[in-house]
């Protein structure tokens, strides 16, 4: 497997000076009047060509520093990074815009700084402008842009310079869903062309849907690096633990979870209801009955992989079961138009009590979801008492070893 980026023992220490003038003093005298802050500690990893690698970690874990070092913007204190091919980085949204220049001028500026001939960029100008899709504003100074517009233009430029490696730091956080869809689509084209993408996003949904590998940094140290599923699962556990810790400290804010915005311009649902297996509206079920959900969904744009998932909560709204959101066997007909979906859920293993059901449709490529039920309550009744807890556990027993295994 070819390596696109090789990171060898990279450490980055920032020098923190109490006053800027001491830094000048040190330059001339060779002194060391600073405290060191180590942002990255001895990171070693190889990023293979053609992979989409997510970099996970909380704020301040060193993700951006690592990306900046890989992009060549700043140099590591120790260790080295070698990069095969042209790298195009979009760091912290602005992608290096000159605020006083217009969008068009910034496109030329970017080309200039990347050593791309003016002629070549002129050919691509139209497609960049079309992708950014910010209309007349392209001739206005960038300082007048909204953050979303900057992200659009930045992304459009970054992907249009024909890089071998694309570094994207949190671009999808500010765009709307339609733009996000476009970005993801473009990045998928990159992936198919065998290009390497490094990707930072706080949206784990997007990461899971799109990346193939993940690297997890915590406080500048490499915690885990490997295939996306395993790393994300461990990382999610870690986040849950952190969140639990926060809850113990009163007053501390909980971890901010990225909100997945529903965009009903892409697909929408209507007339969702709980019903019995005959389709009759119903909210009380006997154990053994089928609990059914019926609704209509309307696909309004091209979606490749539309999946559905659901979650069952108990009376205290604790999750007792959540289906695998990425399970491709739950793919739905995603042709543009109206469809209906009938979901059957078995209640054999449920106990008497109140439950809640949530469900959502999920576009696996863009990580956009639309809920069809939001904690809709239903009740399970049983004819005879079967035990207590959250679920019925199937069991059998052998007495005196008459027809089964017996110890001794």
């Amino acid at each position: 497997m070819q390596t696109a980026i090789s990171v060898r023992g990279v450490t980055k220490a920032y020098k923190l000076y109490s006053t800027p003038l001491l830094r000048m003093w040190d330059v001339f005298t060779g002194g060391r009047h600073y405290r060191e802050f180590t942002a990255l500690k001895d990171i070693t990893a190889d990023f293979p060509k053609g992979e989409v690698i997510a970099i996970l970690g909380k704020n301040g874990s060193g993700k951006s520093t690592l990306l900046r070092i890989i992009a060549g913007v700043t140099s590591p204190t120790r260790g080295e990074v070698s990069v095969q091919g042209r790298i195009s980085a979009m760091l912290e949204l602005t992608s290096g815009f000159d605020m006083d220049l217009t969008g068009i001028e910034n496109i030329y500026l970017k080309a200039l700084t990347m050593g791309i001939p003016r002629k070549e960029i002129r050919k691509r100008l139209e497609s960049i402008v079309a992708f950014a899709d910010i209309g007349e504003h392209i001739n206005e100074p960038v300082r007048t842009y909204s953050s979303g517009m900057r992200a659009r233009l930045g992304f459009a430029i970054s992907v249009s310079v024909d890089p071998d490696i694309l570094v994207i730091d949190e671009v999808l956080a500010v765009g709307d869903d339609i733009f996000r869809l476009k970005c993801i689509e473009r990045m998928r084209q990159f992936r198919l062309q065998g290009k390497t993408i490094l990707f930072v996003s706080h949206s784990l949904f997007t990461v899971k849907a799109f990346c193939t590998k993940a690297m997890w940094l915590n406080q500048g140290e490499l915690v885990d690096y490997g295939d996306i599923g395993e790393v994300v699962a461990r990382y999610e556990n870690f986040l849950r633990e952190e969140k639990a810790k926060l809850k113990e400290v009163p007053g501390a804010g909980g971890g901010k979870q990225p909100v997945v915005v529903s965009k009903r311009d892409l697909f929408d649902v209507k007339d969702a209801r709980l019903c019995d297996s005959q389709g009759k509206k119903c909210s009380v079920f006997n154990v053994g009955d089928e609990l059914c959900v019926h609704f209509k969904y309307i696909v309004k744009t091209n979606i490749r992989r539309l999946l559905f998932g659901f979650t069952v909560f108990d009376a205290e709204k604790r999750v007792i079961f959540a289906s695998d959101k990425r399970d491709e066997s739950k793919a739905l007909d995603a042709a543009i138009g109206e469809h209906s979906l009938f979901i059957r859920i078995k209640t054999d293993n449920m106990l008497e009590g109140r439950y809640y059901l949530s469900g959502e449709l999920w576009d696996n490529d863009s990580a956009i979801s639309v809920g069809f039920l939001n904690k809709r309550s239903f009740e399970i009744k049983q004819n005879a008492y079967r035990g207590s807890g959250v679920a019925f556990v199937e069991h059998s027993f052998v007495n005196d070893g008459r027809d089964g295994y017996q110890k001794d």
Partner: protein, 271 residues
């Protein structure tokens, strides 16, 4: 000493390597400077013209009672001396934030940082060239005339550019570390305007003080421009001060390059 020399060589070679890009960046800077104004680049000429008119009015008519200066009309004498000063003042006021205002190139892109002070000076130098053309034209049409001494104008322009590049390298690096230097430079503009013989003649002051005044390298350049247009003297007629100027420049360049190179790796982290 040796490392400083190496730093200077490396800065110069980077600048030569990226000469084309630097030129384009200078053009872009120029466009930025005059964007958003109706008469645009004309301001480059209008602004100095206003200054010269005001000085002429206040000093020649008001203070001097319309006497000529060394056989030349005062306005021409003033024009010759103030021509390099406009460039000096422009550089002093903009090199402080050269790196700061281009931080997007440093913190977000892979860019030869050594060329930033260069294109900052260069775009102002374009303005200076335009003003020089206007000045030569004024002299040619004024009847005072221009002679063979005009040939040494490129020499003094080189002195001026090199000096201002050194200033830009040194102070852009300083200001990136601490904004104090930016404010200091802006106040230095007024100081240098009055301690340099621009509005007045060095001969007017006592000999001892005159020596001190001439230690200012800008004075050498202002004198030089007057040698070209007014006094008709060659620069090699004054070897002592020429040597002093270049020695001063070399030391300044070495100091600036040493500082810049040492800080170069940290710019992306500081800014």
């Amino acid at each position: 000493m040796f490392t400083a020399f190496k730093a200077l060589c490396s800065m110069v070679s980077v600048n030569i390597q990226f000469a084309g890009q630097t030129l384009s960046m200078a053009a872009l800077e120029l466009r930025k400077r005059y964007s958003g104004s109706t008469i645009g680049v004309l301001w480059a000429v209008v602004r100095p013209a206003v200054f010269v008119s005001v000085y002429w009015f206040g000093i020649q008519l008001g203070i001097r009672g319309n006497r000529p200066m060394d056989e030349a009309p005062f306005i021409l004498w003033l024009l010759a001396g103030i021509l390099p000063w406009f460039f000096v003042a422009d550089v002093l006021s903009s090199c402080g934030h050269a790196l700061v205002s281009n931080r997007h190139l440093i913190t977000r892109a892979v860019f030869p940082v050594s060329t930033i002070p260069t294109f900052t000076v260069l775009h102002l130098f374009f303005v200076h060239l335009a003003l020089a053309v206007v000045t030569v034209a004024v002299f040619a049409f004024s009847g005072f005339g221009v002679g063979v001494y005009l040939l040494q104008l490129p020499y003094y322009m080189l002195c001026l550019f090199a000096m201002m590049w050194a200033v830009s390298v040194f102070f852009s690096a300083c200001s990136a570390v601490s904004r104090d230097f930016e404010h200091m430079l802006k106040s230095a503009i007024q100081v240098f305007f009055w301690i340099t013989p621009i509005l007045w003649k060095a001969d007017m002051i006592p000999a001892g003080l005159r020596f001190v005044i001439r230690l200012n390298p800008v004075a050498y350049i202002v004198d030089g421009y007057r040698n070209v247009f007014i006094y008709e003297r060659w620069f090699f007629e004054n070897l002592k001060w020429t040597a002093y100027f270049w020695a001063f420049l070399l030391v300044f360049l070495l100091t600036g390059a040493h500082l810049f190179k040492r800080l170069e790796k940290e710019f992306a982290d500081i800014l």
